[in-house]
Structures are given as C-alpha cells and as structure tokens.
C-alpha cells in the first residue's frame, strides 16, 4: 500500500536532473592494448589464467565475428561503432583476486558504498528499511569494469552446495561444469554482439544450484563500468539442476561521460527438470544527457533454456537507463510442461532509444508462456516492444498470453509494438492484447486537485500503470525500481 507513497517521497528526496550514479572512481587501471585482435584476446585469456580450450573457444568466436555484420532490423539509430577504438579489458591495477573484503581497494569499496551495494554481509541494499532479523540476505558479486572485485556469502552458499563465483574463477575451479554448459544456450555464432562477447568476455557470474537445492538467499551481480573508452562484456551462466530454485538479481550503473560506451553482455540460463530460475534486472546504465550526448549502448543477449520437464524461467526487467537498449530476454521451452515468463517495464526519456522485448519459443508439449510488457515513453525518446511467440510443430498444447501496454507522456515521443507470432502446431493457443494511451491530463489534474505536485502525479499514475510488473520483483528491488522510475521521468511533463 505504502509503495506509491514511498515513490513519491523518494522523488522528493532525490536531487533532480542528476543521474546520481554518474560519479567516477579515480583508480589506476591496467588495460589491454586498444582495439581488437587475436593478440588482445590472448592477453585477456592469459590475465584470467584460462584453460587452453577457453582461449581456442574465444579465438574461434573472434574469427567468426570478423565475417559477421551488425544487425540493422531494430528501431534504433546510432553512428557506426569503431570497434578498434575501444579497450576490451580494464582492471584495477595490481589487481589480484581478493581473499576477503579487507584486501579490496578502499576506493572500490567506497564506490559500492556510494552506489548502495552491500559488500559487507551485514549490510542490505541501500534505501531499504527492514528491521534487523527480517532482512533478506543477498549475496553479491561485484564486477568493476572487466573483473569481479568481491563476492559475498561464499561460505554460507558453499555449505548449501551452491556455487556462486566470478566466471573467471569458475573456469579455474570448475572447468568441466563451465565447459559443459557455456555457449549451449547462446551459441558463439548467435548474433553479432553475442559473438563479440564470446571472443572478449571478461567477467560475470557463474551460478550452479545442485539438484533439489533451494538457494538459501537471493544472488545478485552488480556491474559497474568505470574506465573511459572501455567496453564491458560480461558473461553470466546460471544452471539450476533438477528440482533446484534460485532468484537472481542484476543491477548496473556507469559514470556520466560524453562519449558512448558499449556494453555487450551474454546471459545464459539452463534449467533442468522441475527447476526454476527467477532472473530480475534493474538496468540503470547512464542514459546520456537530454540532448542525447553520451550514454551506454546496451546490446545484450539473454536467453534461458528450459531443458527439463516442468522447468520454469521468469525474466523480470526494469529498463530505465542506456542511450540505446537492444535486448530480448528469451525462453526456449524445450521440456514438456515447461513455462516461461517475461515481465518488463521499459522507460525512455530524453533521447533514449529502446528496442526490447522477448522471444518465447515453444518446442515441447504443453508449454506455457506469459508476457507482460509496459512501455513508457517521454521526452523525445522512442520505445519499441518487439516480441516473438512461436510454437514448433511438436508443441502440442502450447499456450501464450501477451499483454503489451504503452504509455506516452507528451507529444514528442514514440511507442511501437512489433509482435511476431508463428504457430506451426494447430493446437497452440496464443492470445495477444495491446494498448497505447497518452497519460491523461484529466487524471493528472484529479491527482493535483487532491494535493499532489505535477511530478508526484505523474509518478503515481505511472506506478499504477506498471504495478503488475513491479509486483513480480523481489521486494527490495521493487523499492529501488520505483525510485528509478520516478527519477527517469523527472522533467517529462510541463
């Protein structure tokens, strides 16, 4: 109930016109030579002490990438990226994987403190007021540019049999497990950016939940881009073995810079029989300024494979940042009776361009999927929902429900809905609902007549609009997301 109230209060307490995560950490870093070549890939692989097969895997991807072209079908518009003008690896200087927090560079610790990310195990996410004892525990893997700088609750998780560590570490400690699954959901040749990621990925999280284990706490990874001119290419791989369950959260921010920065991540989820992964993202990369200068290019491939019977994947995303978002978290519903969900809030303001959605690929019998997408466009932004729902010939009894709503604030923004539906099995039942509406002046006036300021009124109406999706987020993330929604829309009316 008080959720909306919280939002309103948080908007007031936050400095306007400020991307408050836009600060820079001054720290010396070690970079790979600028540009992309086999040499740079060898450099990255060597820094990470990787097994030989991993290097070969990367090089293979790189050679394929050289012959690929950037996709052009999305409704986004940006100047050609010069891939030779980027750094592909940056790590805090003299970086050695720390054994405990005391070994982490204090500048970095300060950074996460400022971001409100709890690296000490007794802390919780900033801004969340929950009494001691009732606080949910959250294990955090903190990725700073190209390396993971800290991972918390390792011992407790280990006792439960859960593996949660940077993927670079997993490659050394559990190489067979990584090798068994890496690239099996998003193959190296999947698409231009995924292939690039396969060649140069630096860090990210690896999670393995053994059979029958319900992960005892939320797991989360927090990505921070700090270095100039540096791309971030993280790779996340999560495996829920038979009957396992995990809820995983992902957050991200970057300093304010005039130039655009590339973020091309790959996330792969594997879910076996009766297992479930709930994956939530609050994406808050720097969106650029009001004129569209700077901001992150967020070109991300996220896909989950429901390999087992009755397996389940649920994607929830709150997209508020990035200059350009190109992102379609998808589910391959292979196992009989498996199900996929996609809940999305995508907000665009200023000159932001969002092209986002999902793919639900029904391969197995009696598979179900559900898509709830809420797009909000303001300023001069463009916001496209692009979704594919398909049923394979053998997907008898496949069912999908899609609801796709767009809300426009002001006269200069755009909202677009591009649904693709392919049913090769006659018994498939696909339902699609879509609405587009303008934020109602009358509704805003009604709220203001009751005492709400214009910005509070917008925040309230928008919060109501996205409520179905917010409810899907873990509580502490929902609070964070509400704050973000209000901040993203500041100055969008009047």
């Amino acid at each position: 109930m008080a959720a909306v109230q919280d939002t309103v209060e948080q908007v007031r307490s936050i400095d306007v016109d400020q991307y408050k995560y836009g600060f820079e950490t001054n720290i010396e870093s070690e970079k790979a030579p600028k540009g992309l070549s086999e040499e740079v890939i060898r450099f990255i692989s060597a820094r990470k002490d990787e097994p030989e097969w991993m290097l070969e895997w990367r090089l293979d991807a790189y050679r394929r990438w050289l012959n690929m072209a950037e996709p052009t079908w999305a409704r986004v518009d940006f100047p050609q990226i010069d891939f030779q003008d980027l750094y592909y690896y940056a790590a805090p200087k003299k970086f050695k994987a720390p054994k405990s927090l005391d070994e982490v560079d204090p500048e970095i610790l300060k950074t996460y403190e400022k971001l409100g990310i709890p690296l000490r195990e007794q802390e919780v996410l900033a801004g969340v007021e929950i009494p001691e004892g009732e606080r949910p525990k959250i294990a955090v893997d903190a990725v700073f540019d190209s390396v993971s700088v800290a991972t918390t609750f390792k011992e407790e998780l280990k006792a439960a049999g859960v593996i949660f560590m940077p993927i670079s570490e997993a490659l050394r400690e559990h190489p067979d497990l990584v090798r068994q699954y890496l690239g099996t959901v998003v193959p190296t040749t999947d698409n231009y950016y995924a292939t690039l990621n396969s060649a140069v990925f630096s860090d990210g999280s690896f999670v393995y939940i053994p059979p029958g284990v319900r992960c005892p706490m939320e797991l989360s990874t927090y990505f921070r881009i700090n270095e100039k001119n540096t791309g971030q290419f993280e790779r996340t791989l999560i495996i829920a073995d038979k009957g396992a369950y995990v809820s995983y959260l992902e957050g991200c921010t970057a300093p304010m810079r005039d130039e655009n920065q590339l973020h091309a991540a790959v996330v792969e989820l594997v879910v076996l029989d009766d297992a479930e992964i709930k994956y939530s993202t609050v994406q808050n990369w720097y969106p650029g300024d009001a004129e569209g200068r700077g901001g992150i290019y967020n070109f991300v491939t996220k896909r989950g494979d429901c390999r087992g019977r009755n397996s389940k994947i649920s994607w929830t995303q709150v997209e508020t940042g990035s200059a350009i978002t190109w992102k379609y978290p998808s589910c391959v519903l292979r196992g009989e009776g498996s199900s996929g969900e996609f809940y999305s809030i995508a907000i665009s303001n200023g000159r932001q361009q969002v092209d986002s959605g999902t793919k639900m690929i029904h391969l197995g019998k009696n598979t179900t999927s559900r898509i709830i997408s809420k797009g909000i466009s303001a300023g001069r932004s463009n916001n496209t929902y692009r979704g594919l729902v398909s049923a394979h010939r053998k997907a008898t009894g496949a069912r999908n429900f899609t609801n796709c709503d767009s809300l426009l604030i002001g006269e200069t923004c755009g909202a677009h809905t591009v649904p693709y539906i392919e049913a090769k099995n006659p018994s498939a039942q696909f339902e699609h609902e879509a609405t587009t509406s303008k934020i109602s002046e009358d509704m805003l006036f009604y709220c203001m007549q009751r005492g709400l300021s214009q910005e509070d009124a917008v925040a309230l109406v928008v919060n109501g609009f996205v409520r179905d999706v917010l409810q899907q987020l873990p509580m502490e993330f929902a609070v964070e997301a509400q704050k973000l929604i209000s901040i993203s829309l500041e100055g969008s009316v009047g």
Binding site: M1, A2, A3, V4, Q5, V8, S440, E441, D442, M443, F445, Y446, C447, M448, Q449, R450, G451, L452, S453, Q454, D456, L460, V461, N463, G464, F465, V466, R467, D468
Partner: protein, 253 residues
C-alpha cells in the same frame, strides 16, 4: 470577519475557445453553505474548474481571493493545500493505484506543503477506516484501485471520503447527488453536515432541490450564461423547482 472566498468580476474562457464565465461575482463567508442552480451548459462545472485551476481554461479578467490569497496565481496542488476541494461530477479512475495509497499520498502531500507533520500509515489507516464505516465504504473498496470499476454511487461516496479526510475549508460539490440512490444521498449529505463548522464552507452545485433538503444552504444562487443572475434564501430552490429558469435566462441574455 474576512470572507473565505471572494470572486470579483471574473471572466474566463476555454483556452482558444468560447467565453464561458461572464462577469461572475460571489462572496462566501466562513461557515456558509451556498447552493448554485442553473440550466445545463450555463458554466457551473467550468466555474469549479477555473477555481481549482484545471488546465485548459483562461481567466481573461477579474480576481479571486481565497483566504486572503490570490487564488489564480496558485497551481492546482497549492490551491488544494490551501484548503480547496473539488468533488468531481465525474471522478477519474486511476488504474493500479490503491485507494488507500492514494489517500495517504494526497493527505501527506498537502500536509507537507503546509509544513504540518505527516500522518503515519497506521494513523491514516485508522482514520480512513472510520470514515469508510460512516460512508458505507468497506475495506475491499479501499484496497481496490481508485474508482476503477466503482459504481456511480460508490464513486460519489469515495469523493466524500476524500473530502472528509482532507478537511478542506471550501468544498465545491459538483452535482454530488447525481447517480445517488436515496440511501447514498443521505450518507453523502450526512458526511457534509458532519463537516459543517464555523470555519468551513461549501459551494453546492445541483439541479435538484432534494439535495438541499439534506444539505440546507444559507444562500441560493441562480447561475445562467456564466454569471450569478439572482440570489435568495433556501426557499429560492423550491421556487426554481416550480418555475424553471426561463425568466433568468432572459435576464442573462
């Protein structure tokens, strides 16, 4: 005693359109109940919008003082915080926002603007539940999104609930009786009567004398073609019911 509301020679039009308010004068003192009656399309709702600051209307001349302040220079939320409440003829629906959360936000937004301490959640919930009981609004309706799927009568009860919670100095009721059954009419009127006090005033816009049996006015105005053309006591309402507005429309023209 200083008047609560003073409207002096007010002229207003729809932005880029017709002139609707045409030399309106009205003074409401604290504690008074004024009724406005008049033909359809005379500009009664428009008057309520101009007073509460709805965008889309332009005041071309005249002035309005509310509690000694130049009302027209304030934004709608500032007017609300000053103690002006508009009971909407057609209350809006706000999907996804619970009634209780809306009430909480509204009450505390106003308190904050006035520099008063905010209500805590338990305080507010207690208050709202109490009022809900008086008005026949059950807890289920408090949890539901604001006005979404409410019947016409339920919406009006809900408006009354908001008014009683916010305790404004001036409540403008625009056809609060439309769509109400007899029981609801009594409930809403009882709510208004319970709020009556020496420093609280009401401007009641209605077409039917019946409402004024329950909310007994001190003054009745006839409003035609954008201004008040005749003023009398509560018996004027009865008269109007018998004679209609024909004579006044000539007067206004």
């Amino acid at each position: 005693m200083a008047p609560l509301l003073e409207i002096r020679d007010l002229h207003a039009e729809i932005t880029g359109g017709r002139k609707i308010i045409n030399g309106m004068n009205l003074t409401i003192n604290p504690g008074e109940v004024h009724a406005i009656m008049g033909p359809n399309g005379a500009g009664k709702s428009t008057l309520s919008y101009v007073l509460s600051g709805k965008p889309g209307y332009e005041v071309t001349s005249g002035e309005v003082l509310f509690r000694g302040v130049d009302l027209l220079s304030l934004s709608p939320d500032e007017r609300a915080a000053q103690g002006m409440f508009l009971c909407f003829q057609y209350p809006l629906e706000i999907p996804g926002v619970s009634n209780m959360a809306f009430l909480h936000t509204a009450a505390n937004s106003q308190r904050k603007q006035r520099g008063e301490p905010e209500l805590t959640s338990p305080e507010l919930v207690r208050k709202v539940r109490e009022l809900g009981k008086q008005l026949g609004i059950d807890t289920d309706m408090l949890k539901r999104p604001v006005n979404v799927g409410f019947s016409g009568g339920e919406k009006k009860r809900n408006e009354t609930l908001q008014m009683m919670l916010l305790e404004p100095f001036l409540s403008i009721l625009d056809e609060a009786d439309s769509g109400l059954d007899i029981d609801a009419l009594k409930v809403v009127s009882n709510g208004v009567n319970a709020m009556r006090s020496p420093d609280r005033s009401f401007l009641v816009i209605t077409h039917y004398q019946r409402l004024l049996d329950y909310i007994v006015p001190d003054v009745v105005h006839v409003f035609a073609a954008g201004r008040i053309v005749h003023t009398g006591g509560k018996e004027l309402a009865l008269e109007l019911e018998a004679t209609g507005y024909a004579q006044y429309q000539n007067e206004a023209a």
